[in-house]
């Protein structure tokens, strides 16, 4: 191997993925800028934003990793069907994704209470996180599986697909559904 081979191989391999993530990140940023306007109505709302975004990666990255390993090992066929392993993996992601969203609402409220900052009501935080969590789960799980299956059938290594798909979809849909959910709770609690 000559000097520079390793350097260029990493650079070329990773750059397209990171550029996709950058595009998703900038779009999510535009939505975040819109969310800033709702902050006055729900003080403390911004605390939940990074935690909610990070969780999308943690939960659905795990699902993507599991599905792509399952495909590699021949444990799963690359299609939507009533396969026991697929049903269990998807069910676990729903429970994890929605469960952790509720936990985020609670720990955000607790953290604001402890440091003594102004805070919206507990049920408002939990309501926003629950609705955003449910909507994001559905879209992330269906979208992630569809893209991994389609990529796998066309001969792409699913291991290389999972990271960029999760980061990009998670940023975009996480922020859009968070904005939607904030609006919905605002209307419901009046």
């Amino acid at each position: 191997m000559t000097t520079g081979d390793e350097f260029w191989s990493i650079y070329r391999e990773a750059l397209p993925i990171l550029v996709i993530a950058l595009g998703g990140g900038l779009f999510a940023g535009l939505v975040l800028e819109g969310i800033l306007e709702s902050v006055e109505r729900f003080p403390g709302l911004l605390v939940m934003v990074p935690v909610f975004l990070a969780t999308r990666g943690n939960v659905y990255g795990a699902l993507g990793g599991r599905i792509s390993s399952g495909l590699h090992q021949g444990l799963l066929p690359p299609k939507f069907e009533r396969n026991d392993r697929l049903v269990n993996a998807v069910l676990a992601s729903f429970v994890n994704g929605i469960g952790i969203s509720i936990v985020i609402g609670v720990i955000t409220w607790l953290a604001l209470l402890i440091i003594g900052w102004e805070s919206a009501a507990l049920f408002e935080f939990v309501g926003i996180m629950f609705i955003a969590g449910v909507l994001t789960s559905v879209v992330m799980i269906v979208g992630l599986l569809a893209l991994i299956f389609a990529g796998y059938k066309r001969g792409y290594d699913p291991d290389n697909l999972v990271g960029p798909i999760v980061t990009t979809l998670g940023d975009i849909f996480g922020m859009v559904f968070l904005l939607f959910s904030i609006g919905l709770v605002e209307v419901m609690v009046g």
């Binding site: 191997m1 000097t3 990074p50 990793g65 269990n88």
Partner: protein
């Protein structure tokens, strides 16, 4: 990101949730620090909306760079090709590649944010955005590199599968550093 190769044995939904949920709660508590930093900077974000546009990328990108490096390092450790010898040229090429990727992406972030700001009418000068993006971005990249080495080496030595816990913890800690550094550098550059 959690990619549970090591604990892949179970395909039972209840077992997967029991394995993962405690880690998810710990990670959420770690990232809460980033949330509190963001909330604290609300006034600055309201005044300079373009900074809010940059936040998700600043938070994600350190973790992405760390994940790329960690997965390459853990493959090399497993193959026995790395003993953390500072004379190992390939290790330095890995580090150089991560820094070059960071330089490219954070330059593109500044240019992208500048273009969006110009279209939407709440921009900052390109030079200001470049300074903010590159100073905070390159600092995060260095932190991501240090953490990735430490975590991959520690998991290798202790015989833990890095995919199980170390990579997600590193990714989330680096995310928090990204947020704190970005807000700090922005405040410094804008003289707030």
């Amino acid at each position: 990101m959690i990619t549970p190769q090591g604990s892949l044995g179970s395909w039972d939904a209840k077992q997967i949730v029991l394995n993962m949920f405690p880690l998810l709660v710990v990670l959420s508590i770690i990232v809460l620090a980033a949330g509190i930093t963001l909330e604290d900077a609300e006034e600055m974000l309201n005044e300079y909306g373009i900074l809010a546009v940059m936040v998700p990328t600043m938070v994600d990108m350190g973790g992405n760079l760390g994940a790329i490096l960690s997965s390459r390092l853990s493959t090399r450790f497993h193959l026995g090709t790395t003993e953390l010898d500072p004379r190992d040229r390939v290790l330095w090429e890995n580090i150089a590649a991560i820094l070059a990727l960071a330089l490219t992406i954070f330059t593109a972030l500044a240019v992208g944010a500048y273009a969006l700001g110009a279209i939407l009418g709440f921009g900052l000068p390109l030079s200001t955005l470049l300074v903010i993006s590159l100073v905070s971005g390159m600092s995060v990249a260095v932190i991501a590199i240090i953490f990735s080495f430490a975590a991959t080496y520690a998991s290798y030595r202790l015989g833990i599968d890095p995919d199980d816990a170390t990579i997600p913890i590193v990714t989330n800690v680096v995310d928090v550093c990204g947020m704190i550094i970005f807000i700090g550098v922005s405040a410094l550059v804008l003289g707030l």
